[in-house]
Amino acid sequence: MTKFSDRDSNLVNFLCQHRPQVPPAAPDLEQQILQKVKVYRLPTTSKRARLWLVPSVAAAGLALAIVGYRVFIPARPTAAELASVEKFMESNWQSTVSENPEEEVFLLTY
């Protein structure tokens, strides 16, 4: 509370002294309120529980994405694997294309 000046203090005292008296409540008002309160059930924790689901679902999604990436994306081949693949392609290429063009004409006419 703030400190009053004399003028304010006199006014506040007058107001408090002569404030209109509050009429009493109906005797059964509390019971009426409690009856209505009993009818209305509070959604106590369901909404809050749903809110807590948000970060856990996000974390689970992130974990799945990381695991999926590791599983489905093939690992990079090693240098030895690359060399063997290259060797294989070279040998196949040589067998399909001959260096002598006459042989090719011979093959085509027959």
């Binding site: 509370m1 703030t2 003028r7 304010d8 006199n10 006014l11 506040v12 005292n13 007058f14 107001l15 408090c16 002294q17 002569h18 404030r19 209109p20 008296q21 509050v22 009429p23 409540a25 109906a26 008002l29 509390e30 009426q32 309120i33 409690l34 209505k36 309160v37 009993k38 209305y40 059930r41 509070l42 959604p43 106590t44 924790t45 909404k47 809050r48």
Partner: protein
Amino acid sequence: MLVVPIRASNKDYFHHKSESKADNYLVQQCLQGDTQSFGQLYRRHQQKVRSILYQLCGPSCLDDLVQEVFLRAWKGLPKFRRTAKFSSWLYRITWNVACDYRQATVQGRMQLQLLQQRTPTQQQAPDLISMHYQDLVQRGLSSLSFDHCTVLVLHDLEQISQKEIADILDIPLGTVKSRLFYARAAMRQFLVQQGVQL
């Protein structure tokens, strides 16, 4: 000064706890479906809620308005922040209910009707001078704007701190001080015009 008691229960479990902690404990019980705890909250705060509503809205429909406040509070409990003060939160609901009521009534004519409805039977052991002054205070409050009246009632009659009023009304502290200053000036002027020497 008139002090409104808000603790009515003899079986008070909270001798060593602050009011606020006790309220928060009761709120937690309510959230678990314990309506008896809500009954305790009602008994702790109903007099002040009732008094504020009476000063802001008059005697008509007072019980209905009190009921509305506590039903809104019950329904809003899941949204109540534990860090907040329960009484401030409840008084904010009270103020909202009072605003809704004032908007729903035709203000000028309605207030005159409310003043006319005040009968001597509402006072115990009526005293003419006292009744006259009470009527003056009531008329003086009615003559203020709703914002000024609210701040005057909460601060000077209900003795709620300016900071808490700022929280309740969600306005800056400076605005509370300013409204209080103008409200008091207007009230003082009204009373002086009516022949009251302060």
